[in-house]
């Protein structure tokens, strides 16, 4: 994978910034070239591009999104955008109840973690939406366990929470055309898995670290 920024990616980032009028605040950390996993709430197709565009360009070149395979490979345009333009890491979404057995879901899960760890490599960062799907934007939904397993697998990578605000009103799920309202993006304080912290406790703490970055009361 090359580490250069595709011109369409830069263009889309500029358009997304213009439409969303996003105001970025680094509240808990500073932009840094070290390897990170940015994890945020998810309510709009603009989420990734806006978050990505908020990073300085040298960091941007090494930061890849995680894209759900079933959705982003469904049409040629989507595939081109994710694969060629943004160098996305494709993952299959597994929900525990869809898998035939718990062993199978466990197996697929481990495979996915390996893929993400591999995508991180020695110098990349990832952007992850641990809710797994877009919500309504009213509250942050429960996190899937990938973030926990990936954090265990790569303890050297910093976990940075981020909160994207109002993007659900700019381009909600199911809409194709955006409404140019103003939005906010807040980066929080990096967190780590505490010694002996179990999966659910950590995921809830991670979820809380994202939702606590909300700057506007619920509208």
């Amino acid at each position: 994978m090359s580490n250069s920024i595709h011109p369409i990616a830069s263009l889309l980032a500029a358009v997304a910034r213009g439409i969303s009028g996003v105001q970025v605040q680094w509240a808990g950390c500073e932009p840094d070239e070290r390897q990170r996993i940015y994890f945020a709430n998810h309510s709009s197709h603009l989420d990734f591009v806006v978050l990505w565009s908020a990073l300085p360009s040298e960091i941007r070149a090494k930061t890849r999104p995680i894209a759900a395979k079933d959705y982003w490979e469904a049409t040629p345009v989507r595939r081109y955008l994710t694969q060629n333009v943004f160098h996305a890491v494709f993952l299959e979404r597994v929900s525990p109840n869809k898998a035939k057995s718990s062993e199978e879901s466990h197996f697929i899960g481990r495979h996915l973690i390996e893929e993400m760890a591999h995508a991180l490599g020695a110098e990349n960062s990832l952007i992850l939406f641990p809710e797994g799907t877009r919500g309504t934007g009213e509250k942050v939904g429960p996190f899937r366990s990938g973030l926990y397993h990936l954090a265990l697998r790569r303890p050297d990578v910093e976990l940075v929470p981020a909160y994207l605000e109002n993007l659900n009103r700019i381009l909600p799920k199911g809409e194709f055309l955006p409404v140019p309202m103003l939005s906010l993006l807040t980066f929080g304080k990096p967190l780590q898995i505490e010694p002996e912290e179990d999966k659910d406790t950590f995921l809830e703490r991670a979820r809380e670290s994202v939702s606590s970055l909300r700057r506007i009361g619920s509208a």
């Binding site: 909600p172 409404v179 103003l182």
Partner: protein, 317 residues
């Protein structure tokens, strides 16, 4: 194009604005160096920020007027866009309003300015109050969400009326054909903007200097009777003194200025009430550094349409 430069009175008017800006910048500097660390510091910083904004606004405005009618239309179109963007961000809307909002931003607003530009008076006058206001409620209803339906429809109607329809009357002054005033219409627009903005500023300054009795403290703690009277009287005096740039006699100019000042005050009051209603303190973060455009033009939104129609009624045969 460039005809504005050859209009001697317009150049004098700009000279006056430049002079005022220089004086206020100087005063701002002096105040800043005198009060290094005390309670009045925030007020002085606020004042200096306003002065910087006026420099920028004046420069953009001058450029637009020099370019000509199209420049002014584009400038006011952009102001409308930014103002409505702020308004719609602050006012709670629901998922079901999405497409109506899209139409408001990308169809109704450009169409309104296009109609002003092509001088189609009757359609420009009914586009939003008649056509858009009839279009908005059903387009929300069709999305199927009935919660707060009437409120949501009204919020969008009000926003588009104030931010787009009302404001578009300012550049519409450029298309009025006043006998004996041909080619000087940019002066009329500038007159409206100067009197309106100076009224805001002077009300603020008088309020800071001698303000005591609050007009409606629940709505806006900064608005006092002393500020109101002082600001309106001095801005009206300024407007009267500017009669020579307009087609008005001094007395007519006094009447027009007084009306601009009082309507402008009402605009500010209404916008303050809306901000209190939706809890601007929570939303302040969105606007900070990004805008506050609505705060600057609220008075203009209320003054422009009535000024336009008065001029049209009395001075256009």
């Amino acid at each position: 194009m460039l005809e504005a430069i050859h209009d001697a009175k317009l150049v004098w008017l700009y000279g006056g604005v430049l002079f005022l800006l220089l004086i206020s910048t100087l005063i701002g500097r002096i105040l800043k160096s005198r009060h290094r660390a005390d309670a009045s510091r925030t007020t002085i910083d606020n004042l200096n920020a306003r002065i910087r904004a006026w420099w920028k606004m004046s420069a953009i405005f001058a450029a637009a007027v020099v370019i000509g009618h199209v420049g002014s239309l584009i400038l006011f179109g952009i102001i409308s866009f930014l103002a409505m963007r702020e308004y719609m961000t602050l006012v709670p809307t629901r998922r079901g309003d999405h497409r109506t909002l899209f139409w408001s931003f990308f169809v109704i607003m450009p169409l309104q300015y296009y109609l002003v530009g092509m001088q189609w008076y009757i359609l420009f006058a009914i586009m939003i109050p008649v056509l858009a206001c009839i279009f908005i409620p059903p387009s929300i209803a069709i999305a199927g969400d009935t919660e707060h339906f009437l409120e949501r429809a009204s919020k969008i109607q009000f926003g588009i009326m104030v931010c787009v329809y009302s404001l578009s009357h300012a550049p519409a002054l450029l298309l009025l054909k006043i006998p004996g005033f041909e080619g000087h219409d940019a002066r009329l627009l500038l007159y409206l903007v100067i009197v309106d903005q100076m009224s805001d500023v002077l009300q603020y300054v008088w309020g800071k200097l001698i303000g005591k009795h609050k007009i409606a403290w629940r709505v806006s703690p900064n608005k006092t009777w002393e500020g109101f009277v002082g600001g309106v009287v001095s801005a009206t005096a300024l407007g009267t003194a500017l009669w020579w740039v307009t087609p008005f006699t001094p007395l007519q100019s006094a009447g027009m200025s007084l009306m601009i000042c009082i309507l402008g005050f009402n605009g500010g009051l209404v916008m303050s009430a809306i901000k209190r209603d939706i809890g601007i303190k929570d939303f302040g973060v969105v606007i900070e550094g990004r805008g506050g455009i609505l705060d600057r033009i609220d008075s203009l939104c209320f003054a422009a349409p009535i000024f336009f129609h008065l001029v049209r009624y009395y001075f256009v045969p």
